[in-house]
């Protein structure tokens, strides 16, 4: 143990800013790792409850350790947190109260007890504000040694238990079926959670530790689908916001560290929320807009096809006016839509500028859409017992989504039909080369 302690001492930097940075790294590592499980298991508010519940322990540590040794404070804080988590569990199994009420009761009562005790012993608990709202500058070498060892313990335990813990986060019943000791693992999880809260205490403070548990992990969750990467990113975000917050709060006089770190983490989350490549809001909006535009183009192609069909494929060209009437749009809008089709090479405009005809590509796509629509209508009437006049709306939606594979299955299933339920022919895009519906 003393060997470990001396090795740990080698890692502790001498300068003040070095200490603050190491503290931020430890804070990010501890909270980031546990935070991933907290976010996946949907127990974010449990993190909040445990973090508030450690306050009486901190106060006890401040009062009962004469030279305020970090070891004693850590121990008492962890005990209080574990007691809080245990009480939540006990309350949920032994009463009708739901988890939200149990969490709220433990959170508030423990916190109040801590405040009451502290207010009674003000001269012994001068530094309590550092633990409530965080002060990364107040962390000294002995605090760091304690934080380092606790984080080391956390990381090692997590490394060995990552598979069962991960399994449990997704499906508790399944992991019980696999023979994992779920009860014990749950206990271990809350144990680790409490220790990660305790590590973060002096840097962030009781009130906002839960931000460090939730926000970096949630940001990481938006960036990746792989758990290892999520853990890595979450730790990275925690460290980054810890360092930035520490530096900013050191610049401004009297600003507690915790809120600044929490705000940094939130800003990071905000950026990722907007810009994440797959799960970000902007990319989602872009995807929606692109899909809407595609549906619009495809509906236009369909309208052109239907006009041709209505004329028995007698004319080569369709006028903008006819399209506008068919689509129920103004001519300007139709021309705008036609531009989009033109850009994609689906249509060619005639020289007069008011009529157009489908290109080969356009014919193919238009026939596909109409085929999808009519096949689906037929499928619904034949196989799903829909009334003939109820199938159109459904087909309007699905025609844009059906993939070639599914279309082939549908055709096979319906025995390569030629007419839809309303008696209209189902076009065959694959026959386009052999027998074009109109000579181009």
């Amino acid at each position: 143990m003393s060997l470990l302690a001396s090795v740990v001492d080698l890692l502790i930097p001498g300068s003040g800013s070095g200490k603050a940075i190491l503290a931020a790294v430890l804070l990010g590592a501890g909270c980031g790792l546990l935070g991933c499980f907290v976010v996946l298991r949907r127990v974010a508010l449990m993190g909040d409850a445990v973090s508030h519940a450690v306050l009486p322990g901190v106060v006890a540590g401040l009062i009962y350790s004469s030279e305020r040794s970090p070891g004693v404070i850590f121990l008492f804080a962890a005990l209080a947190g574990l007691l809080g988590a245990g009480l939540v569990r006990l309350m949920m199994v032994s009463t009708r109260l739901k988890s939200d009420a149990a969490l709220g009761i433990v959170l508030a009562t423990f916190f109040a007890f801590g405040i009451m005790w502290q207010s009674r012993n003000q001269q012994d608990t001068v530094g309590v504000m550092n633990f409530l709202f965080g002060n990364i500058g107040s962390i000294d070498a002995s605090d760091l040694r304690m934080m380092l060892m606790t984080t080391l313990m956390l990381v090692v335990t997590m490394f060995f238990l990552r598979r069962p813990l991960l399994m449990m986060s997704f499906d508790e019943g399944f992991s019980r079926g696999l023979g994992y000791p779920v009860r014990v693992l749950n206990g271990v999880f809350y144990f680790l959670l409490t220790f990660s809260v305790v590590v973060a205490l002096q840097a962030v403070g009781v009130v906002l530790v839960s931000a460090m548990l939730i926000t970096p992990a949630a940001a990481a969750y938006l960036l990746t689908d792989r758990f290892e990467r999520m853990m890595l990113l979450s730790v990275l975000f925690g460290v980054a916001s810890g360092i930035t917050g520490g530096l900013v709060s050191a610049e401004v006089n009297g600003l507690p560290t915790g809120p600044v770190i929490a705000l940094c983490a939130t800003a990071l989350f905000g950026i990722i929320y907007l810009l994440a490549p797959r799960h970000g809001v902007l990319s989602k909006v872009m995807r929606t807009i692109r899909r809407r535009m595609r549906v619009r183009r495809e509906n236009m192609l369909k309208a052109i096809y239907q006009i041709h069909e209505g004329e028995g494929f007698a004319h080569e060209e369709v006028s903008v006016l006819m399209l506008a009437r068919k689509r129920g749009q103004t001519e300007e809008n139709v021309i705008k839509d036609c531009k989009a089709l033109l850009n994609r090479g689906f249509i060619e405009m005639a020289e007069d500028g008011v009529s157009l005809h489908l290109s080969r590509l356009g014919w193919k796509r238009a026939m596909e859409i109409v085929r999808n629509h009519r096949l689906w209508e037929l499928y619904l009437t034949n196989e799903a017992d829909y009334a003939e006049d109820h199938v159109h709306e459904d087909a309007e939606k699905i025609e844009h989504i059906l993939e070639p594979g599914i279309v082939r299955l549908l055709e096979q299933h319906l025995n390569f039909p030629e007419l839809d339920p309303h008696g209209k022919p189902i076009p065959q895009p694959s026959h386009l080369v052999a027998q074009p519906p109109v000579s181009i």
Binding site: S94, T95, L103, G104, F111, M116, P259, T266, H279
Partner: protein, 317 residues
């Protein structure tokens, strides 16, 4: 003789001030206990937590502008901040795969952090609103506040204001009790009677925000959660019926106010925290001895039924 001294101690030390403290604590706890009971029934206990944290920046900004802690603008600011947090939560969990609990956690910690930073930057070392106040509330400072003449008595002004808030909430509750009961137990049935769930939800959230802001100055941002949840939860463990639950919750508020005063004087501790700790002890009693859900009765009944089983076996043999 010693015991009697303990009991009369607050009144000897504080005189009529003890009465004001108890009244103030009760007027703060009463509306919280009633709204909190409905939060418990709707399984929204932690919404109280989220609201009490997230209204903070609104209070700070409104206080910065008006410079008066009793200004009604504080409630407007708090209401806006509370609304903003609801919007944030929706934005996060509707648009991404982050779940509701994490979304709630992110928004309310962020808003609370913003509140603290704004407070330090805008207000600096202000005596009326500082970190101490956020944690401890100003309940203990009650006897140093301004006084106004009421019914020929020199009453501390906050007591009168808070009495108004409590009365207003109780009247509101009396008017809408049936609607709230119905929608708390069966939202669909309430909707079929024409009470829109969204309207009820948001009006309730508004009243909760109002109560929280009013209680905020007295007990601080975090202890408010206890005043919201503890009475309702304790009452919930004692009865299956709503009216008795509301009455018991009010009783819990009253006893906590009294008990808080005694703890405050006996231990020379912070008054707001003492009220909450007393409420916590009452909850513990309800948990152990509550007539409906008391752990002790359940345990005794289990023992009893085991004995019965054994005696049955003996008889059958």
């Amino acid at each position: 003789m010693r015991l009697l001294e303990y009991i009369t101690l607050p009144w000897d030390v504080l005189g009529v001030g003890a009465l004001w403290l108890v009244l103030m604590a009760f007027f703060v706890a009463l509306p919280c206990s009633q709204m909190g009971s409905f939060l418990i029934l709707r399984r929204m206990a932690l919404t109280g937590d989220a609201i009490s944290h997230s209204v903070f920046p609104g209070v700070v900004i409104a206080f910065y502008i008006t410079g008066d802690l009793a200004s009604p603008w504080l409630i407007v600011g708090a209401g806006l901040a509370g609304l903003f947090s609801t919007v944030l939560i929706e934005l996060i969990h509707k648009w991404t795969r982050v779940k509701q609990d994490a979304a709630t956690g992110i928004s309310f910690t962020a808003l609370f952090a913003l509140g603290v930073v704004l407070m330090e930057m805008l207000l600096g070392r202000n005596v009326d609103l500082d970190l101490e106040c956020v944690l401890h509330g100003r309940l203990g400072l009650l006897l140093e506040e301004d006084r106004s003449l009421f019914l020929g008595l020199q009453v501390p002004t906050p007591v009168i204001v808070m009495a108004g808030v409590a009365a207003f909430t109780m009247v509101l509750l009396g008017l809408f009790c049936r609607v709230m009961t119905l929608s708390s137990f069966d939202t669909d049935l309430a909707a079929s009677y024409g009470y829109r769930p969204a309207v009820i939800h948001y009006s309730m959230m508004f009243v909760v925000s109002f109560v929280v802001v009013a209680a905020f100055q007295a007990v601080g941002a975090i202890l408010v959660i206890a005043l919201l949840i503890l009475p309702g939860a304790a009452a919930y463990l004692c009865t299956y019926r709503l009216k008795p639950m509301l009455i018991l919750a009010a009783l819990h508020a009253l006893i906590s106010a009294f008990g808080g005063l005694y703890l405050h004087v006996w231990f020379n501790s912070n008054m707001a925290a003492s009220v909450v700790v007393c409420g916590g002890v009452l909850f513990l009693l309800a948990w152990l001895l509550g007539p409906v859900d008391g752990v002790l009765w359940k345990w005794l009944k289990d023992e009893h039924s085991e004995l019965e089983e054994i005696s049955d076996e003996v008889v059958n043999d």
